[in-house]
Amino acid sequence: MAAPVPEPAPEPILEVRGLVKHYPLTSGVLFKKRTGAVKAVDGVDFVLRRGETLGIVGESGCGKSTVARLLCSLERPTAGRIRYRGEDITRLSGKALKAVRRNIQMVFQDPYTSLNPRMTVGDIVGEPFEIHPEAAPKGDRRRRVKELLDVVGLNPEYVNRYPHQFSGGQRQRIGIARGLALRPEIIVADEPVSALDVSVQAQVINLMERLQAEFGLSYVFIAHDLSVVRHISDRVAVMYLGRIVEMGTDEEIYEHATHPYTQALLSAVPVPDPEARERRERIVLSGDVPSPAAIPSGCRFRTRCFKARQRCAVEVPALAVPEWFRSEGGPAAHDSACHFAAEREPPPGPAPRREPDGHGAANAQ
């Protein structure tokens, strides 16, 4: 297979370097003594390019939601930089911060608790205009809100209804409309479809893809569902215990994972195809994820890793293309933070499944 010709990469719109967020643990009531720290995010680097979708996957407690909050300046990092269009936004305050926030908006997971139940849909979607009055003149706001509802596929006549009058999927559309109100460049979506039923989930995913094309948005799409992330993302970062352990294009991660954690994660996902049952080879990880307040030395995954050796306990593996893949190139040559990074042997069994096909044809045999 010939190496694909690299396309000229679009300019980065967001650049994250050495991002760290530690929450102090204290003891004592009056004189609080610092006794340690929960290392929620512990050195994360990535780049988001204009118009792309970067997926961040990981299990609960890996720090992916904290990354989302840091990107939206909802919290300040302990260390590290977030550059938006070349400018470090972690030190901004006041007007400058407000201006940046306008361009980086968030869509939350839970459409039941992220909308104020006592505000009408019109007020919820129009609230960003109250905070950023320069975005739309007062007289024009009502019209803009109706337009936004229409864009996300809701009846504009519903502006005076309350959140409880909508289903989960419709509420998520309201959350997306609110995120779009200020015409941001970047949307950080934290588990936007996890709370939705399968049939509705597909509607919201399709909506997000359509909006991205329409408004030229860049997405950071955070989710625990690896299948959803594969579907929507151009590139994927896998997080474990506060760090990115592997990052690459969707094909590099899903077809040619070289980090043992990614491999275990992928092998654990049930595939909706009973024929795959016999072929699958699950890597079962032992034990639970360690506490982010007591991160293992060396490679933080080593306590559950089936490949761990002595070196892993002393030397922190860097997120980089492993040396032995660098020369040969190909899809295995992508960032992987493992001293012993290697592709999995393909499981023995029948030939790979038929080519993906569209709706309708998929079922006709």
């Binding site: 299990e59 609960s60 289903s167 999927g169 419709q170 039923d197 399968v198 049939s199 509705v200 989930q201 597909a202 509607q203 995913i205 399709n206 893809e209 625990h224 569902d225 690896l226 299948s227 959803v228 594969r230 579907h231 929507i232 969707d250 094909e251 899903y254 275990a264 994660l265 992928l266 092998s267 654990a268 996902v269 049930p270 595939v271 909706p272 195809d273 009973p274 024929e275 795959a276 049952r277 699950r282 079962v284 990880l285 034990g287 639970d288 499944r353 993906p356 569209g358 709706h359 309708g360 044809a361 998929a362 079922n363 006709a364 045999q365």
Partner: protein
């Protein structure tokens, strides 16, 4: 047949009217078999299970018709005392949320041991030994020490194992698991599902797995019943259903899940929303969302047509759906 549900009807009286949660559900599960009941929220999959177990909230819920035959005896007509003996000892249930299903102020050891002192009349000491044995069975490390811990001291996956241990305690013939891994991370989900499958094999139990996850079903089930608006719309052996669905709803579901093993193009999205149980559409409840709907679908409720001796579909045009000639 171990358990057979026949034409079950359940309704809830609410302020806005009567919600028809279960409208003539029938399924059967044999010893050693895994039946998956698949459905989205509000499809009636959990309510059916609650009615089988006899743990429906009444009021507002009420079983208005049907039979639940366990080894040929109708549980719905048994006196409560007898029913309680069957529940727990012969049929056990595993819930989604282990933290709220376990007693927070009792050690897990005491909760497990209670099963043996109450149902089997064992001494406290013997019951405690049994509890440790069970915890080892569900592969909880250092069981002898952890038996004295409280539920909150365990991780989510470990708590779910304790729930499974509790369900297994009296070696039931049938386990009903309601979304047992929904709250868990995928690596932990895999551990718990594997454990459940191993134990089911080892004990030769029947398992009813209630879930919304098409992946989990494909992984463990022998047969599947798909529910929509309180009815079973399709029932089939799992391989056949995934290969050739005979109901447009099933087919829409299969096409709307993103796949890990291939990068899809557009996802197919079933249009609209599941109906309110207060106002189920006339005719086929799925017709407002169905790409194949015709006049007859708006007026006539489709029965569960026999597609083959092992398959059923509640679609007037199941043959067309099966042939894949129609679609989006």
């Amino acid at each position: 047949m171990l358990l057979e549900v026949r034409d079950l009807h359940v309704e809830f009286r609410t302020r806005e009217g009567v919600a028809h949660a279960v409208n003539g559900v029938g399924y059967a599960v044999d010893a050693g078999e895994t039946l998956a009941v698949l459905g989205e929220s509000g499809s009636g999959k959990s309510v059916t299970a609650q009615a089988v177990m006899g743990i429906l909230d009444t009021p507002p819920g009420r079983v208005t018709g049907g039979q639940v035959l366990f080894r040929g005896r109708d549980l719905l007509t048994l006196p409560e005392e007898e029913r309680r003996r069957i529940r727990g000892a012969a049929i056990a249930m595993i819930f989604q949320d282990a933290l709220s299903a376990l007693n927070p102020v009792m050690t897990v050891g005491d909760q497990l041991a209670e099963m043996f002192t109450v149902h089997r009349g064992l001494s406290r000491r013997a019951a405690r030994a049994k509890a440790v044995e069970l915890m080892e069975r569900v592969r909880i490390p250092a069981a002898a020490q952890r038996v004295r811990d409280f539920p909150h001291q365990f991780s989510g996956g470990m708590r779910q194992r304790i729930m499974i241990a509790m369900a297994l305690a009296l070696e039931p013939d049938l386990i009903i698991a309601d979304e047992p891994t929904t709250a868990l991370d995928v690596t932990v989900q895999a551990q718990v599902m594997d454990l459940l499958a191993d134990l089911r094999r080892e004990y030769g139990m029947g398992l009813i797995l209630i879930t919304h996850d098409l992946g989990v079903v494909a992984d463990v089930a022998d047969r599947i019943a798909v529910m929509y608006a309180g009815r079973i719309v399709e029932q089939a052996p799992v391989h056949e259903l995934y290969k050739r669905p005979a109901h447009p709803y099933t087919r829409g579901l299969l096409d709307s899940v993103p796949r890990l093993d291939r990068k899809g193009r557009d996802l197919y999205a079933i249009k609209g929303l599941p109906p309110s149980l207060l106002r189920i559409p006339p005719g086929c409840a799925f017709h407002p969302r169905c790409p194949m709907a015709r006049d007859v679908c708006r007026t006539d409720v489709p029965p569960l047509y026999e597609v083959s001796p092992t398959r059923g579909s509640a679609c007037h045009f199941w043959r067309e759906c099966l042939d894949g000639s129609a679609g989006a």
